[in-house]
């Protein structure tokens, strides 16, 4: 086999591998949608905002599919993008109220907890969600939010205190 043929085979092999990697990323993004939506919903507590956050995250991930093929932990990367987006969306709609019908459907008897959580800042809600809903460690939350692990501990403690105070004052 000539050198040129070998080079052509090597290059086509590289392209095939890259295409396979992109297909893997695409399939991952498809399968991960329910988890992404539930995490976004636990932070925003509004289905429309959660959908918005997931949609934006999917678009961003789709645009950087090539970069995602190099990422070792895809789930952590997508979670990072999603949580930041959810916080941004939540800050933009912080004062908006959820319709009563949806309230009853989604939150059932937990509406009181939701109302208290609504009084907390978006960052506190995100950190509570990552801890309670996702069950992440301080280090994982630190990687997701891009803050030191020590700061995660103090912010989580502050968020719990704020919730407790508001809950007791209710």
């Amino acid at each position: 086999m000539s050198v040129v043929t070998q080079a052509v085979h090597a290059v086509s092999g590289l392209f095939a591998r890259a295409k396979r990697s992109e297909e893997v990323v695409s399939a991952f993004l498809q399968n991960e949608r329910p988890c992404m939506y539930r995490l976004a919903l636990s932070i925003t507590q509004r289905s429309d905002l959660a959908e918005d956050a997931v949609q934006e995250t999917l678009i961003r991930c789709w645009r950087s599919t090539k970069k995602l093929t190099q990422v070792s932990d895809l789930k952590a990367f997508c979670r990072q993008v999603l949580v930041r987006r959810a916080i941004t969306v939540l800050k933009a709609h912080s004062s908006a109220e959820l319709p009563e019908v949806e309230d009853a459907k989604v939150f059932g008897e937990q509406v009181d907890v939701r109302l208290v959580l609504q009084s907390l800042p978006a960052d506190s809600r995100a950190i509570l969600s990552l801890s309670y809903f996702e069950g992440l460690s301080y280090q994982e939350i630190s990687d997701t939010l891009g803050i030191p692990a020590g700061t995660v501990a103090s912010r989580l403690s502050t968020a719990r205190e704020r919730f407790r105070d508001a809950w007791e004052a209710k």
Binding site: R33, R38, L41, S47, Q55, L58, I59, V106, V113, F133
Partner: protein
């Protein structure tokens, strides 16, 4: 006292995912988004160009000494010479 947050966050594990999100066609959505972003930038660019150049053109056009006829005759001069050459 039990932690009310534990029970609250539990319910999201079973939350129903909207069908439109599950069937969302991300590539076509991304294309539409890109086209929209490009058109917004193009519009902004054209508007900025018009806004920055309009005062100059307006100032030139409203000058009493601005001789539109001489500008036009200068523009048409090559055509006139071409016509005369053809006639010859």
């Amino acid at each position: 006292m039990s932690d009310p947050l534990k029970g609250f966050y539990e319910q999201f594990h079973e939350a129903e995912v909207p069908a439109r999100l599950a069937h969302l066609d991300v590539p076509s959505l991304e294309k539409r988004r890109t086209v929209r972003e490009i058109s917004v930038w193009m519009t902004a660019f054209v508007l900025a160009w018009v806004c920055t150049s309009a005062p100059t053109w307006t100032a030139v056009a409203v000058q009493p000494s601005f001789a539109w006829t001489s500008v036009l005759s200068r523009q048409l001069e090559p055509l006139a010479s071409l016509e005369s050459e053809v006639r010859e």
